[in-house]
């Protein structure tokens, strides 16, 4: 198909250049074909196209002479260059590009791995320190709690002691007071008893001395008792 346009142009040129004079000079058709082929070859026409000129002059179609190349089948030159290109690109990439890229990527992988390992180690260490620190803090807290507990217990004990002592003191004072009271009471009673006895003896002495009638007697006793009571007050 691509060859059609140049061929048609070529044919037109041939008609103009040769066919007119050919008719005038009565040249043979073979002569025209030969000269046309030579001209086409001189102008760089492909062999397959040049061979078609004879058929074209005879009035046949381009398609009768040679078919348009198939769009499917690959031409030889493209096959050969394609093979060379693929092999070249594979070898270039394999020999020059790939080792560098592979080394670079592997180095990065290694680097990242070692970085991660280091980070992991640092983390483990930090965790150890943290655990230790936490243990210390816990110890300190326990110690503090223990001290506070001790102090509290001591305070409790002291409080209990003081209370007990205070209670004992109070009890002792109270019992002493009670016994004092008892003694004072007993003393008072004893005193009273002695006085009453004295008074009674005195009253009796008076009664006996006067020997009076019962009424006088009674009045005497009563006056005596009043006297005693007043005296006691």
């Amino acid at each position: 198909m691509r060859t059609r346009a140049p061929l048609a142009g070529l044919l037109l040129a041939l008609v103009l250049v040769f066919v007119g004079p050919a008719a005038a000079n009565a040249q043979s058709s073979d002569q025209v074909k030969k000269e046309a082929k030579e001209l086409a070859e001189k102008n760089g026409g492909k062999e397959a196209d040049v061979n078609c000129i004879g058929d074209l002059i005879d009035g046949k179609r381009v398609d009768d002479c040679h078919k348009a190349p198939s769009p499917i089948l690959p031409p030889t030159n493209e096959l050969i260059w394609g093979a060379i290109s693929f092999v070249a690109v594979f070898l270039l990439l394999w020999k020059f590009g790939w080792p560098g890229i592979k080394a670079g990527m592997n180095a990065r992988t290694e680097r990242i791995k070692s970085d991660l390992d280091q980070a992991e180690a640092a983390r483990t260490e930090a965790e150890g320190v943290l655990t230790e620190y936490q243990a210390q803090v816990a110890d300190a807290k326990g110690e503090a709690a223990r001290i506070i507990e001790d102090a509290r217990q001591t305070a409790d004990a002291m409080k209990r002691d003081l209370q007990a002592q205070a209670e004992a003191d109070i009890a002792a004072q109270r019992s002493k007071a009670a016994s004092d009271i008892e003694a004072a009471k007993a003393q008072a009673l004893a005193d009273l008893r002695g006085e009453v006895a004295t008074i009674a003896i005195g009253a009796a002495e008076r009664v006996v001395e006067r020997n009076l009638d019962p009424e006088t007697n009674k009045a005497l006793v009563e006056s005596f008792i009043d006297q005693v009571g007043a005296g006691r007050n």
């Binding site: 394609g82 594979f90 990439l93």
Partner: protein, 252 residues
């Protein structure tokens, strides 16, 4: 001519004339030039990335290491496992080379996906075919063929049906589908972009306003083709990994 639009025939869109007066088997055309450029881009990219290795990657190194990481973690570890890491350079080459070859589709000035020609996909699919069969024979010896054709866990009468299907699908359809998938995706994307570009140009020349919608679609499709380029590179690579992994572990 469709609706007054002159869509170019497909050969105009993907076939390029030989340049620099070269002919024959070593002829150089635009596709070949783009292949060379892709080789250069991939090689220089990974070379730069490997030269200045920094601990914290930046710029080129970052992108390159993302690609390596993607191939390693996203493709190999997901499909083969740890023992597939040996194939990282190969799969990395496949991934980056296919992607760069694809992305020319939307680079202004190039605008031709190398993989829209059958040459590279076919070559790479054949290479993958050779590699996964080699791995299979190396890891399982002669039992590789038996494991492929007679997968365990199938009642034996079914083997009459299963064995030919497995054989064909493993040894014939795999390379075919692997190459055709990449090729056809890129070709279809290329043709799609061309169609919308032609449509936009024609409408711009005639009505101006009418070109707004196809122009916007063209931009959107260009973005979509970036996605397709990356996705096809990913799929090509992950299928390669799956085939290699399947040849390593017969129980799959």
């Amino acid at each position: 001519m469709i609706l007054g639009l002159d869509f170019p025939p497909i050969s105009h869109a993907i076939e390029w004339r030989d340049l620099f007066g070269t002919h024959g088997a070593f002829a150089i055309n635009k596709v070949v030039l783009l292949m060379w450029l892709s080789v250069l881009v991939v090689a220089v990219f990974f070379f730069i990335a490997s030269r200045r290795q920094q601990l914290v990657p930046t710029g080129v190194q970052n992108v390159a290491e993302s690609a390596v990481d993607f191939v390693r973690e996203g493709i190999i570890m997901q499909t083969i496992g740890k023992e597939g890491l040996f194939y990282t350079p190969f799969l990395l080459t496949v991934f980056s080379f296919v992607f760069v070859c694809n992305i020319w589709e939307i680079i202004p000035g190039a605008q031709m996906p190398v993989n829209a020609r059958m040459a590279l996909p076919m070559l790479m699919a054949l290479l993958v075919w050779v590699i996964f069969n080699f791995v299979g024979v190396k890891n399982q010896g002669i039992r590789y063929l038996k494991n492929v054709c007679f997968p365990p866990g199938v009642p034996w009468p079914l083997y009459i049906l299963v064995a030919p299907i497995e054989f064909v699908s493993t040894f014939l359809v795999r390379p075919l589908s692997l190459s055709v998938r990449l090729f056809a995706n890129m070709l279809a994307g290329h043709l799609l972009l061309i169609s919308f570009a032609v449509l936009s140009t024609a409408l711009w020349n005639s009505t101006k306003v009418g070109a707004v919608l196809p122009g916007a679609l063209l931009i959107g499709l260009t973005g979509f083709e970036i996605l397709v380029s990356a996705l096809q590179a990913y799929i090509f690579t992950i299928l390669t990994a799956v085939y290699i992994g399947g040849a390593m572990h017969p129980e799959h």
